[in-house]
Symmetry: C2
Subunit: 333 residues, 2 copies
């Protein structure tokens, strides 16, 4: 069973496996092995995963059998588990909380050989719908405070399975990184009475220097203060703090811009590994004038070293202006 433990200095909570901890032999030192063997996310191997929680399948098909085009299942090796009451307590100078939460996997296609960027707009729209549906469903659980949706693509970005998938983790606490965003946005709003993301959007659309592409509802930019080379954000043009409130039409536009940016990235950077994260408001109080949901994507190109760990700053060797120009100008199919 994992535990949550809080840093008494900076307030960061970590999830720690205390009962069955991995020893030194559990860690590979940067091999890039192919998963090989039988893939649990492939068509026909449905029995290798926990039962499906959500599925896109033509009418008449049996649950947990073939015929599906998208499946959501519980993570077989979850970081947090859904069973049990929430228990928080002190331990001497420290604070402790048990590892309650949800950890789900969104298998985006039954086909092992397609990346997220290869999915059709219709298929990607189903992925976006699944993200929304799972977020909304988990709001019924009063123990949970935050739902994180993210994707790890590539071994070096932390993906343990090659077959394209995203993940959802719901947590009993609002994470440190989200609290930092919320507090920062609140301070900005107090001072200016405007959403800082709306201000940033207006600035970027006017200057156009760091814009990669846009459609009716979304814009993709390389942010001014990018921590990483080719870091990119996708922001909805219309203010909204909660990703799960996305209406059907903008959901299609989100799928469209996601495909376009992934294709641009793949072409420009020779198919890099990456992480993307949907930044959205906590479950409580989703209507926030000062917060604006968005997607942040980090291509895995640089290493985190002592300077970054010591300062919380990052050394980014590529300006976002250069990155945006390259991503904007690249020819995609």
């Amino acid at each position: 069973m994992s535990e949550l433990r809080r840093d008494p200095i900076i307030g960061r909570w970590n999830i720690i496996e205390a009962d069955d901890p991995a020893g030194p032999e559990a860690f590979e030192v940067e091999t890039h092995a192919n998963s090989g063997g039988k893939c649990p996310f492939c068509f026909g191997n449905e029995g290798m995963t926990p039962p499906e929680i959500y599925v896109v399948r033509p009418p008449g098909g049996a649950a947990n059998g073939p015929g599906w085009s998208l499946r959501v299942v519980a993570n077989k090796f979850p970081a947090l588990k859904i069973e049990g009451d929430l228990d928080r307590q002190g331990m001497g100078v420290y604070d402790w909380c048990n590892g309650v939460g949800a950890h789900e996997v969104i298998v985006e296609t039954p086909d092992h050989n397609r990346q997220m960027a290869d999915l059709s707009i219709a298929e990607l729209t189903e992925v976006v719908k699944a993200f929304k549906a799972r977020s909304l469903d988990l709001r019924g659980d009063k123990r949970l405070k935050y739902t994180l949706i993210f994707k790890n693509f590539g071994l070096s970005a932390g993906a343990s399975l090659e077959h394209t998938h995203s993940q959802l983790i719901a947590l009993p606490i609002v994470p440190k990184r989200v609290q930092e965003e919320l507090r920062g946005a609140e301070r900005y709003f107090e001072f200016r009475e405007r959403c800082p993301y709306c201000d940033m959007l207006r600035h970027e659309l006017q200057e156009h220097e760091r814009v990669i592409c846009e459609n009716r509802s979304f814009v993709a930019i390389c942010p001014f203060m990018s921590s990483f080379p080719f870091e990119l954000w996708v922001l909805p043009k219309e203010h909204g703090a909660d990703f799960a409130q996305l209406a059907p039409e903008p959901a299609g536009d989100f799928a469209r811009i996601l495909k376009e940016t992934l294709l641009r990235l793949r072409t420009a950077l020779r198919d890099p590994s990456y992480n993307f994260i949907i930044h959205s408001a906590p479950i409580e109080r989703q209507a926030r004038e000062e917060y604006h949901w968005h997607l942040e994507l980090i291509p895995k190109l640089t290493k985190i070293a002592g300077f970054e760990w010591g300062t919380g700053f990052y050394i980014n060797p590529t300006s976002p202006e250069q990155a945006a120009t390259l991503l904007r100008d690249i020819q995609i199919g």
Copy 2:
């Protein structure tokens, strides 16, 4: 010329190369090449580095010639440059500051084939003295607010040269990560009127579950809330916020515990890559009742993925109790 740019939401400053940005071809995707060729830090190659700022050399030897046992030089490819006035300004919704600062390299030995763990106590004490001397010297520069001393060991931990060395970066702002620590420590002190690190030390020395080793002046522990497997901290037993105030005797004890923990780590984890960082108070107001300098070491074993980027939390598969037991019980030379 690099720039500092501030995230308007969470207040993080990043260093960005705007004039000569690296393109996609500048990034290797996880090859583990040996540096090969001629090493600029080796005995006899002194001409390949900028001139020495600090040196340990028997009397009579010429500057920048051979005969030295430790050298400090300016980084040939610095993240920040020491020339010029500090310039901070707004840019629309953003904040900007030029890249003024110091970036030095401490070459710990002229011998390419020794790791830091292989240095004698006397040699390591000279390294600690060099850290102190360079920190104190840079305090004369009123543009600088914080001095960070750290080490990257191994390619995957961000070391671009194999030859054992540490780095010093002095910054015109107090970094986000340090501010978080200071604020957290201040809040704790307000509530309890005790240093949180002193409390933690007392707790750990009493329980002894997470103690790796100790000597007269220092203790090495795996912290309760470890973000990473086998993360370890070295703390001075006596309260002090400023590393550079370390007296000669404790400096020797620091060298001793550093060597011991590095040897334990190397033996237990088959010579892992790692980062260590000395966390010390900002240049202004070093006497702080609530802050306690220490060293944090992170072996490079796990990958940072979407969850970590999205939450600021880390998933640590090894409990610190397990890690401390292993590191404590391992037999070293």
